[in-house]
């Protein structure tokens, strides 16, 4: 092997290893890993199963909220959510029909919501304003209409 090639490949491999170390450190030590909740639910009995029998916004602590949310073509339930600035909100979600995506534009909130699986993602809303929530996985003919808003006051 050529000397320069050896240097190039050693550097390349080194960068990839450093990259993996950083990704691993952020994911496991700093708790920044991607949404990966493991709980399940019968997708045909979502309405009868706790906690999804009563979707809504629940206060869980000092400026901490949990939103129990169901997604179905083509809406989020509950919609038009209001929380105070600085609130830490955990979204607990499942789908009642097909695969949906839950994205809050302008934040890092982005998670797949699949039938049969309960997905969780947490975000702290520091900046007041109107946040656009949209479905980012194609879910049918009205997919482009599936959106709602989170108002942070």
């Amino acid at each position: 092997m050529h000397r320069l090639e050896e240097i190039w490949l050693a550097l390349s491999a080194g960068i990839l290893v450093v990259f993996m170390v950083i990704v691993g450190y952020q994911g496991f030590a700093l708790g920044m890993g991607p949404p990966s909740n493991m709980d399940t639910v019968d997708p045909q009995k979502v309405d009868e199963t706790e906690p999804f029998d009563e979707p809504g916004v629940y206060k869980r602590g000092e400026n901490q909220y949990e939103v129990i949310m169901t997604l179905q073509a083509f809406s989020f339930n509950p919609g038009d959510i209001e929380v105070p600035a600085g609130a830490e909100v955990t979204f607990t979600m499942t789908s009642k029909d097909v695969t949906h995506g839950f994205q809050i534009a302008g934040t890092n909130v982005n998670a797949m919501v699949m039938p049969g699986h309960i997905q969780k993602i947490t975000h702290t809303f520091d900046e007041p304003g109107s946040y656009l929530v949209l479905c980012n996985e194609y879910c049918g003919t009205g997919h482009q209409l599936m959106s709602t808003e989170i108002t942070v006051k």
Binding site: L16, V23, G33, S36, M38, V41, Q103, I118, Q119, Q144
Partner: protein
């Protein structure tokens, strides 16, 4: 008595293909299908681009998601598959001295099967019975005819896989102690990946057929999705191996240089074959039901694919620099100017390779765990695969046409055609910079992919995306212009260009290169290693989905 095939292959391998009109006919048929598909897919692409920007309304009988499904399947599956088979079968036949008659039969069988499949799939999409997009995630259920069509397409591709396996082994049996020609080695790598990479999705489709017919009540959504991506991303890397076959084998000859290293090229193919299939998991980084530990393992597996690509980057620049210096280039960068920029056979793949630098970097971003959350399912991803597939792969394919098609049709590349090719390459490059560039930017702002024109009730965030979508529309317009020029060039060179002999460029090794070791030919070992890597990647999550999974989902039609 005629000489036995083996002797002909030995004496004058290059003659075989030129003489052999039957192999040329296979290649021409596949390439014709490829470029007709490209034209239709390109028109659909423009319709989407304009609809998405709100510049055009589609008629009631053809909605955005039908167009998107057809655009995806036609271009991602049919165009690339038909081009790959046409191109690799010609080069394979050329380098090993002609296809065996039974292999030709397999290629024609495959051709018929793929056509039947395409007709079934396109008819269901047009009837609005399969607006499920290229990924057809259940529990969204298309008409069973759609899935049956997909099975035909896969069977057609498999027929071609078996053809290559048979001919490859036949050649090796008759050439004991020799390594296969480099081009044939690439061909083998592509078809091995194609066969093993499509096993998972084939199983998925076979479970979807009884489910969509109502014979089976529910389907395991996560298993289906995972099996799909085991194929979905492997396919991407199949194209990449196809494109790099031209970079490694043909490009050195075109620039008047030599191969960098025959052995290194083979090691790259072997690594891509072994490492590829788990790469698809990074499409599921923000899925529920997969632990963070398993995801981290898959981030590592995806990232490892970057390594052979970095080897390729080194090799390509080495080839180009040596060739440039051989032609009198001096100083640190003087060689760069000495490259044949006015030759479309060089310009197109060169831009393709340059595009792979941002494309590959974008790929690393997509695969990197928490950063994936920022761009997942936004237009960033669409921008990413339009720069990788749309430029790195497709522009290489376009460049290949300018020597491959005159070669198989015994015609010449004229100066005017070369000029048209340069115009085509520039049109395509500018179109892609505009489209893919604006998609990357607006994706970072959150604009979702796979969504028809919407302002989300005039929400200010969504309104801020519209200007970028206009730029996408302009890019798409240039791209369709590029498609039209390319399709014209292809059929002109196939049927109307002046008769003559054109060379199939095959780079030669440097004079002092040591012979390639025979161990590179141990395909059974590479396949076993590949299956081990696949097992490491998939056994734990799939068992988990099945054992700990929720009750399944019934078929649902939401369009």
């Amino acid at each position: 008595m005629a000489k036995p095939l083996r002797d002909i292959i030995y004496d004058d391998p290059k003659k075989m293909f030129g003489l052999n009109q039957e192999d040329a006919r296979i290649a021409k048929s596949y390439l014709s299908v490829a470029f007709i598909t490209l034209l239709i897919g390109g028109i659909l692409g423009l319709l989407q681009g304009l609809q998405r920007a709100g510049l055009m309304e589609l008629p009631a009988w053809l909605n955005y998601y039908q167009v998107l499904t057809a655009h995806g399947i036609l271009l991602i599956l049919i165009f690339t598959a038909a081009f790959t088979i046409g191109y690799l079968y010609s080069g394979f036949s050329h380098t090993i001295g002609g296809l065996l008659p039974k292999v030709r039969k397999l290629a024609w069988t495959g051709f018929g099967l793929i056509l039947i499949g395409v007709v079934l799939v396109v008819a269901t999409i047009l009837a609005n019975e399969a607006s499920v997009l290229y990924t057809f995630y259940p529990p969204m259920a298309a008409s069973p005819v759609f899935y049956i069509g997909l099975v035909f397409i896969v069977l057609g591709i498999w027929a071609n896989c078996f053809g290559v396996f048979i001919n490859y082994n036949h050649w090796r049996k008759n050439h004991k102690g020799q390594v296969t020609p480099l081009f044939a080695f690439f061909t083998m790598g592509v078809f091995v990946l194609w066969f093993f990479g499509s096993l998972g999705v084939t199983y998925e489709v076979l479970t979807l057929i009884p489910w969509s017919l109502g014979w089976k009540e529910t389907i395991n959504v996560m298993v289906s999705r995972t099996l799909f991506w085991s194929f979905g991303h492997t396919l991407v890397n199949i194209w990449y191996v196809v494109a790099s076959s031209a970079w490694y084998v043909a490009l050195p000859k075109i620039v008047g240089g030599r191969l960098f290293s025959d052995k290194l090229a083979r090691v790259v193919v072997i690594l891509l074959v072994i490492l590829n299939i788990p790469g698809g998991f990074h499409h599921q980084i923000i899925d529920p039901g997969i632990t963070e530990t398993v995801k981290f393992l898959h981030v590592f597996m995806s990232v490892s694919i970057a390594f052979p690509s970095l080897m390729t980057a080194f090799a390509m620049f080495a080839v180009l620099e040596r060739a440039g210096r051989r032609h009198g280039g001096r100083g640190l960068f003087g060689w760069f100017k000495k490259l044949p920029w006015g030759d479309v056979r060089f310009l197109a793949p060169m831009i393709a390779m340059i595009a792979f630098i941002p494309g590959g970097a974008g790929g690393l971003i997509n695969t990197s765990n928490q950063i994936n959350q920022v761009i997942h399912n936004t237009l960033w991803v669409v921008g990413h695969f339009h720069i990788t597939v749309g430029v790195s792969v497709v522009l290489t394919f376009f460049g290949i046409c300018y020597w491959l098609i005159p070669f198989i049709s015994k015609r010449k590349l004229t100066l005017q055609m070369n000029k048209l090719g340069i115009i085509q390459t520039i049109t395509w490059t500018v179109g892609m910079i505009l489209m893919s560039g604006s998609q990357h930017l607006v994706g970072l702002l959150g604009d979702p992919r796979r969504t028809s024109y919407t302002t989300y009730g005039d929400h200010e965030t969504a309104l801020s995306w519209i200007p970028y979508e206009y730029v996408m529309g302009i890019g798409a317009t240039l791209l369709l212009l590029g498609v039209i020029i390319q399709v014209y060039a292809v059929f002109n060179m196939m049927f109307f260009a002046p008769k003559g002999e054109t060379e199939f460029p095959i780079g030669e090794s440097e004079d002092d290169e040591s012979p390639t070791p025979l161990w590179t030919e141990r395909w059974s070992l590479w396949i076993i290693l590949m299956l081990m890597v696949v097992a490491m990647a998939y056994v734990i999550p799939i068992v988990d989905f099945v054992v700990n999974g929720p009750p399944g989902s019934p078929p649902i039609k939401t369009w």
